[in-house]
């Protein structure tokens, strides 16, 4: 039965998928990959400074020794990330909706939301973390938390919400106005049209760019180290200070890679799936 296979390969060629050319192209890909990375390894390991680099960055012993401490500190990165992510999703959606409500009455709200997104996209994340982490507790307002975890999360939420709000807003604007007209024509109110018709479509479309922002957020949790908490990066600094060997930094990098790569692959997969769906729907 050659037919289904042919059909499959023609289809994926249209989609530009990676498996389009069959066994021959897989072989070419494997060979060129091996040759490329082989050359890179040869080049690096024959460099004059390689023995020194190998000793101070790739020490197996140091790696085994430092990994448990760094990994347990990495738990804090994950907690920072998870708490911040949930808050960002909610707060950014609120900002995006505020920027999208029409009518002159809501102009002050739109202005405020716009000023917010402009402000927090222009200040470097590190500065926001410093200002909040060192500034806010110094105010000594009773009832205001002083924990660096709290202020670290707050800083990340403030900064990332500005970006994520723009992503949401692009999604809202990508929903055709006729959808709102259809919803309103049925007697749904403006907020109902937004909630049941526009936002669900908008959010679905922006999931890939949202995930992309969250990959950035995962990495930026390391910046919270600057105001005190011992997360993975800080933990590796401590290890390095004790041993004068840089391998712990590599261990930390590895942990971030293990967290990020699956998310990046998942994002790509989602994008590819959306594209397939759109092609399928468009071809009808």
């Amino acid at each position: 039965m050659p037919e289904p296979a042919q059909l499959g390969s023609r289809r994926s060629r249209i989609l530009g998928g990676p498996r389009s050319e069959g066994a021959r192209s897989t072989l070419i890909a494997v060979v060129s990959t091996v040759v490329f990375f082989g050359l890179v390894v040869l080049l690096v390991t024959n460099a004059p400074g390689w023995p020194e680099v190998k000793r101070s960055f790739f020490s197996g012993e140091q790696f085994r020794e430092s990994l448990p401490d760094i990994a347990s500190a990495f738990g804090l990165n994950i907690r920072l990330f998870l708490v911040a992510e949930v808050l960002i999703l909610v707060f950014a959606l609120l900002l995006a909706v505020l920027r999208s409500v029409p009518g002159p009455v809501f102009f002050p709200l739109r202005l405020l939301a716009t000023a917010y997104t402009d402000l927090f996209r222009s200040i470097p994340t590190v500065l926001v973390i410093y200002i909040l982490g060192f500034g806010a507790p110094t105010l000594q307002i009773s009832g205001l938390p002083t924990s660096p975890f709290f202020w670290g999360v707050t800083a990340l939420v403030l900064v990332y919400s500005a970006y994520v709000a723009e992503v949401y807003r692009a999604g809202i604007q990508s929903v055709h106005p006729s959808q709102e007209a259809a919803a309103r024509s049925l007697g749904l109110s403006q907020p109902q049209a937004l909630r049941f018709v526009i936002l669900p479509q908008a959010v679905r479309r922006v999931v890939p760019p949202l995930l992309n922002d969250f990959i950035g957020l995962q990495k930026d949790t390391a910046l919270v180290a600057l105001i005190g908490p011992v997360e993975a990066f800080r933990a590796s600094q401590i290890e390095v200070a004790g041993s004068f060997n840089y391998t712990p930094y590599l261990a930390t990098a590895l942990l971030f890679i293990l967290l990020t790569v699956p998310m990046a692959r998942f994002t790509d997969w989602l994008i590819a799936r959306n594209r397939r769906r759109e092609l399928a729907a468009g071809g009808r």
Binding site: S178, R184, S185, G187, S189, V197
Partner: protein, 247 residues
């Protein structure tokens, strides 16, 4: 009492005055077809009646209530007036059943069971019962448009506005949608229908209105309009339609 009374309706987009004083009265159970060249303002008129476009002057009265008066709750008004668009405008992220039950549940606050009962009854009546769990992109254009009609009907409107509902359809799918409209007319639904299907208008309309240069230039029985048009502009328009093979 008339179902719809429009007086002196004016509407501009910027400097373009699209409607220059429309007067129209539609009796209960009457079917009025609006014909006119593309760009003559048929869609704009229907959108104004459904308060989707703010108007510049004039009054619109639906079943005795002036809906263009200050302080009128537009959501309540729209629940009584169904509109169906050329491009269907179904909600692509919802199943057929969810499309049809959304407004009854959220705007009329019916229970899910009541709304679904209403929806299933209508879907059955129009031969769509087996599509209730499908998503719009899995339906043919004709099926999508029938679902859009059902979605509007689920609000039990007093008045239906249909805006060239067959224009986006492949020719072989037009009949199934027109049949639905015929059935609605037979059931006594009051309708204002903008259409390019002259044969259909002739067949179904109680009255035909020719829209030209922002006014209703001529109106009358289908027979009068199609066989003995008075106005030169109407004659020209119909002549073009005949030449295009659509009458």
């Amino acid at each position: 009492m008339s179902a719809l009374t429009v007086e002196g309706l004016r509407k501009s987009f910027g400097r373009l005055e699209v409607l220059r004083g429309i007067d129209l009265e539609v009796a209960e159970h009457e079917v009025v077809c609006l014909i006119g060249a593309s760009g003559s303002g048929k869609s704009t008129f229907l959108r104004c009646v459904n308060l989707l476009e703010p108007i510049d002057a004039g009054t619109i009265v639906v079943a005795g209530e002036e809906i263009t008066a200050r302080g009128v709750d537009v959501n309540r008004v729209r629940r009584r007036i169904g509109i169906v668009f050329q491009a269907f405008n179904l909600f692509p992220h919802m199943s057929v059943l969810a499309n049809v039950t959304l407004a009854p549940r959220r705007a009329l606050r019916l229970s899910r069971a009541d709304a679904e009962g209403r929806a299933v009854e209508l879907l059955e009546r129009f031969g769509l019962a087996d599509k209730r769990d499908e998503y719009p992109d899995r339906l043919s254009g004709g099926q999508q448009q029938r679902v859009a009609i059902v979605r509007a009907l689920a609000m039990r409107p007093d008045l239906m506005l249909l805006d060239e509902v067959t224009s986006a359809l492949d020719p072989e799918l037009v009949a199934e949608v027109l049949n639905v409209i015929r059935e609605l007319a037979a059931a006594g639904m009051t309708m204002v229908i903008a259409t390019h299907e002259m044969a259909f208008a002739r067949d179904i309309a109680d009255r035909v209105c020719f829209l030209d240069e922002g006014v209703i230039l001529e109106e009358g029985s289908p027979d009068a309009i199609f066989t003995r048009p008075r106005e030169a502009r109407t004659q020209q328009f119909l002549q073009r339609i005949v030449e295009a093979g659509r009458l």
